[in-house]
Symmetry: C2
């Protein structure tokens, strides 16, 4: 029995794979499997004999059909062109995020076990006038190519589920902060950089007004929630499979205050404010808070506060 993780070479994907293996070893996993296949342009960094790393693109339909075999019980579809990259290259975003998702759904359609299919969506599906807290029945009116392609992905995964082709679970993830490593092509990349860089003694800039509200999740909470989305009973979710994953509603200024409290004024002083209209126009169209009563009642979790998120980054990624 096989679980496939697209984007398994990436930060979130590799941690999902590790969490699945840990759950299996601890005997706590809800879905039986004996192999995990990572599909990614990059090698999967998880060193475990149960993990097969396939290097390739989600846009390669033939490869998808080879990988998604009859013994597939689950798919995590995390691979995507991110928000900044999608805004810069419309056609690439359509090819990878729409056609790739569709090809993966087609490969999964008709598999005996009706695989559970976890799809990561984004708060970028929203735009226009935003209420203080986004309700469950809020229209998706994306103001970015990334939001549009993710919105289409939501509709596809939902409809493939309604038709009984797959058993979908759509996670609208908050912005992940603090990601380790380097900036990526997401417009929200700064939400990690303004904490990560100063904690590593490097300068960073905040490109949005400090009162910009962000909806954030630590990597640990995000991974826990993705695995939870995979493991819960689909019938408990109901007909509409979109899940507003819980997060923390924090302004950019409050993030910097957490930085000061955890890492000191010298770290805070490394962060300048340098307004970037392009980033602000994307990130500023995203909502800063969600009504998560339903997803909390389904067992999804969030971080306690942003100080704790900064401490998590320090403890996990900063040596000594």
């Amino acid at each position: 029995m096989k679980i496939i993780v697209t984007g398994g070479g990436g930060f979130l994907g590799s941690r999902v794979i590790q969490a699945l293996l840990d759950g299996k070893d601890a005997g706590t996993g809800a879905v039986e499997f004996d192999q995990v296949v990572s599909l990614d342009l990059a090698e999967c960094p998880v060193a475990d004999s149960r993990v097969a790393s396939v290097k390739g693109s989600i846009g390669d339909a033939e490869l998808l059909h080879e990988i998604v075999t009859e013994d597939t019980v689950g798919i995590f579809h995390l691979a995507a062109v991110l928000s900044g990259g999608s805004e810069d290259d419309f056609d690439l975003a359509m090819n990878v995020n729409v056609d790739g998702t569709r090809a993966l759904l087609e490969a999964a359609r008709g598999i005996r076990n009706t695989p559970r299919f976890v799809f990561t969506s984004s708060l970028a599906v929203f735009g226009g006038e935003m209420p203080d807290s986004v309700p469950e029945n809020m229209a998706t009116q994306p103001e970015s190519t990334y939001g549009m392609v993710k919105s289409i992905g939501e509709l596809l995964v939902n409809e493939y589920t309604r038709k009984g082709f797959i058993d979908g679970r759509i996670c609208r993830l908050p912005t992940i902060s603090v990601r380790p490593g380097k900036p990526n092509s997401a417009a929200s990349s700064f939400a990690s950089s303004i904490i990560r860089e100063p904690m590593n003694g490097m300068k960073s800039v905040c490109p949005v007004p400090v009162d910009t509200k962000l909806w954030l999740s630590s990597p640990n909470a995000a991974v826990t929630n993705l695995v939870h989305a995979f493991e819960i009973d689909g019938e408990n979710i109901g007909g509409w499979r979109v899940l507003n994953v819980p997060g923390l509603s924090v302004t950019a200024g409050e993030m910097l205050e957490s930085l000061t409290r955890v890492a000191g004024q010298s770290a805070r002083d490394l962060v300048g404010i340098d307004y970037d209209a392009k980033i602000d126009s994307i990130v500023g169209s995203w909502p800063g808070a969600f009504d998560v009563e339903r997803t909390r009642s389904l067992g999804f979790v969030s971080d306690t506060d942003f100080d704790q998120v900064v401490q998590q980054y320090r403890d996990d990624f900063i040596a000594g």
Copy 2:
């Protein structure tokens, strides 16, 4: 200068073409053109030297590129696999309604004049719990394949507009009643049949409970609104191009009462009630009323009452 109408061989499409020509002849049209091209599997019935009828499929990308030439100033995209047909054939619905729409958008992308692009969507994009009246920011949670593909079309037309590739206008049309002619593959086909058949002396059945609320538009109001959507200034619509076109909120029972008032008890007696769970599950998931304050303020119109709609059918289509 050319206007293209996909589905120009159909009932609504051919009437849109006639209305465009009438507007031109009266000198009231807002967009200059000298030719209309109908693209449809069927021949366009409008007999006018300014109309070219091209028989072909919206799924034929090569044909689309031939037709959408540099002098294209407008496109009405009405061709689609309807709701019943989409529910029966998922792949056909994806190919025609998603891939076809996308191919047409790609053909229009890059045309010098940034063509106005009127796309007909549907109240089938909605599902789940419905408020008494659907607000502008209501989530699209379709419970049918047709609703899903139309929802994807909305996102595409909107994003192509945001990117400046086209100048899109998305009309969420009410259910059209009374259509002349024969039943079609739309799940809502009965909304015409229960009036049309008895007025022509034939039996008909109502497949949904009589208290089912429907959101209806006469053909005349729908055509007027489609042409209006084409002619208004895009900037007046704003960034989000979806328009909830005004309609009448009427129950199936009230429709039958109008039938009695206009055509008499003998006509009413020709309509039986024969519950059809499949049709009810599709049509029952659609909303029965919309908040149309914004579209009314943009100049969109609706019928006065359903009696007048039945009279319109009688006057236009029943001889003598």
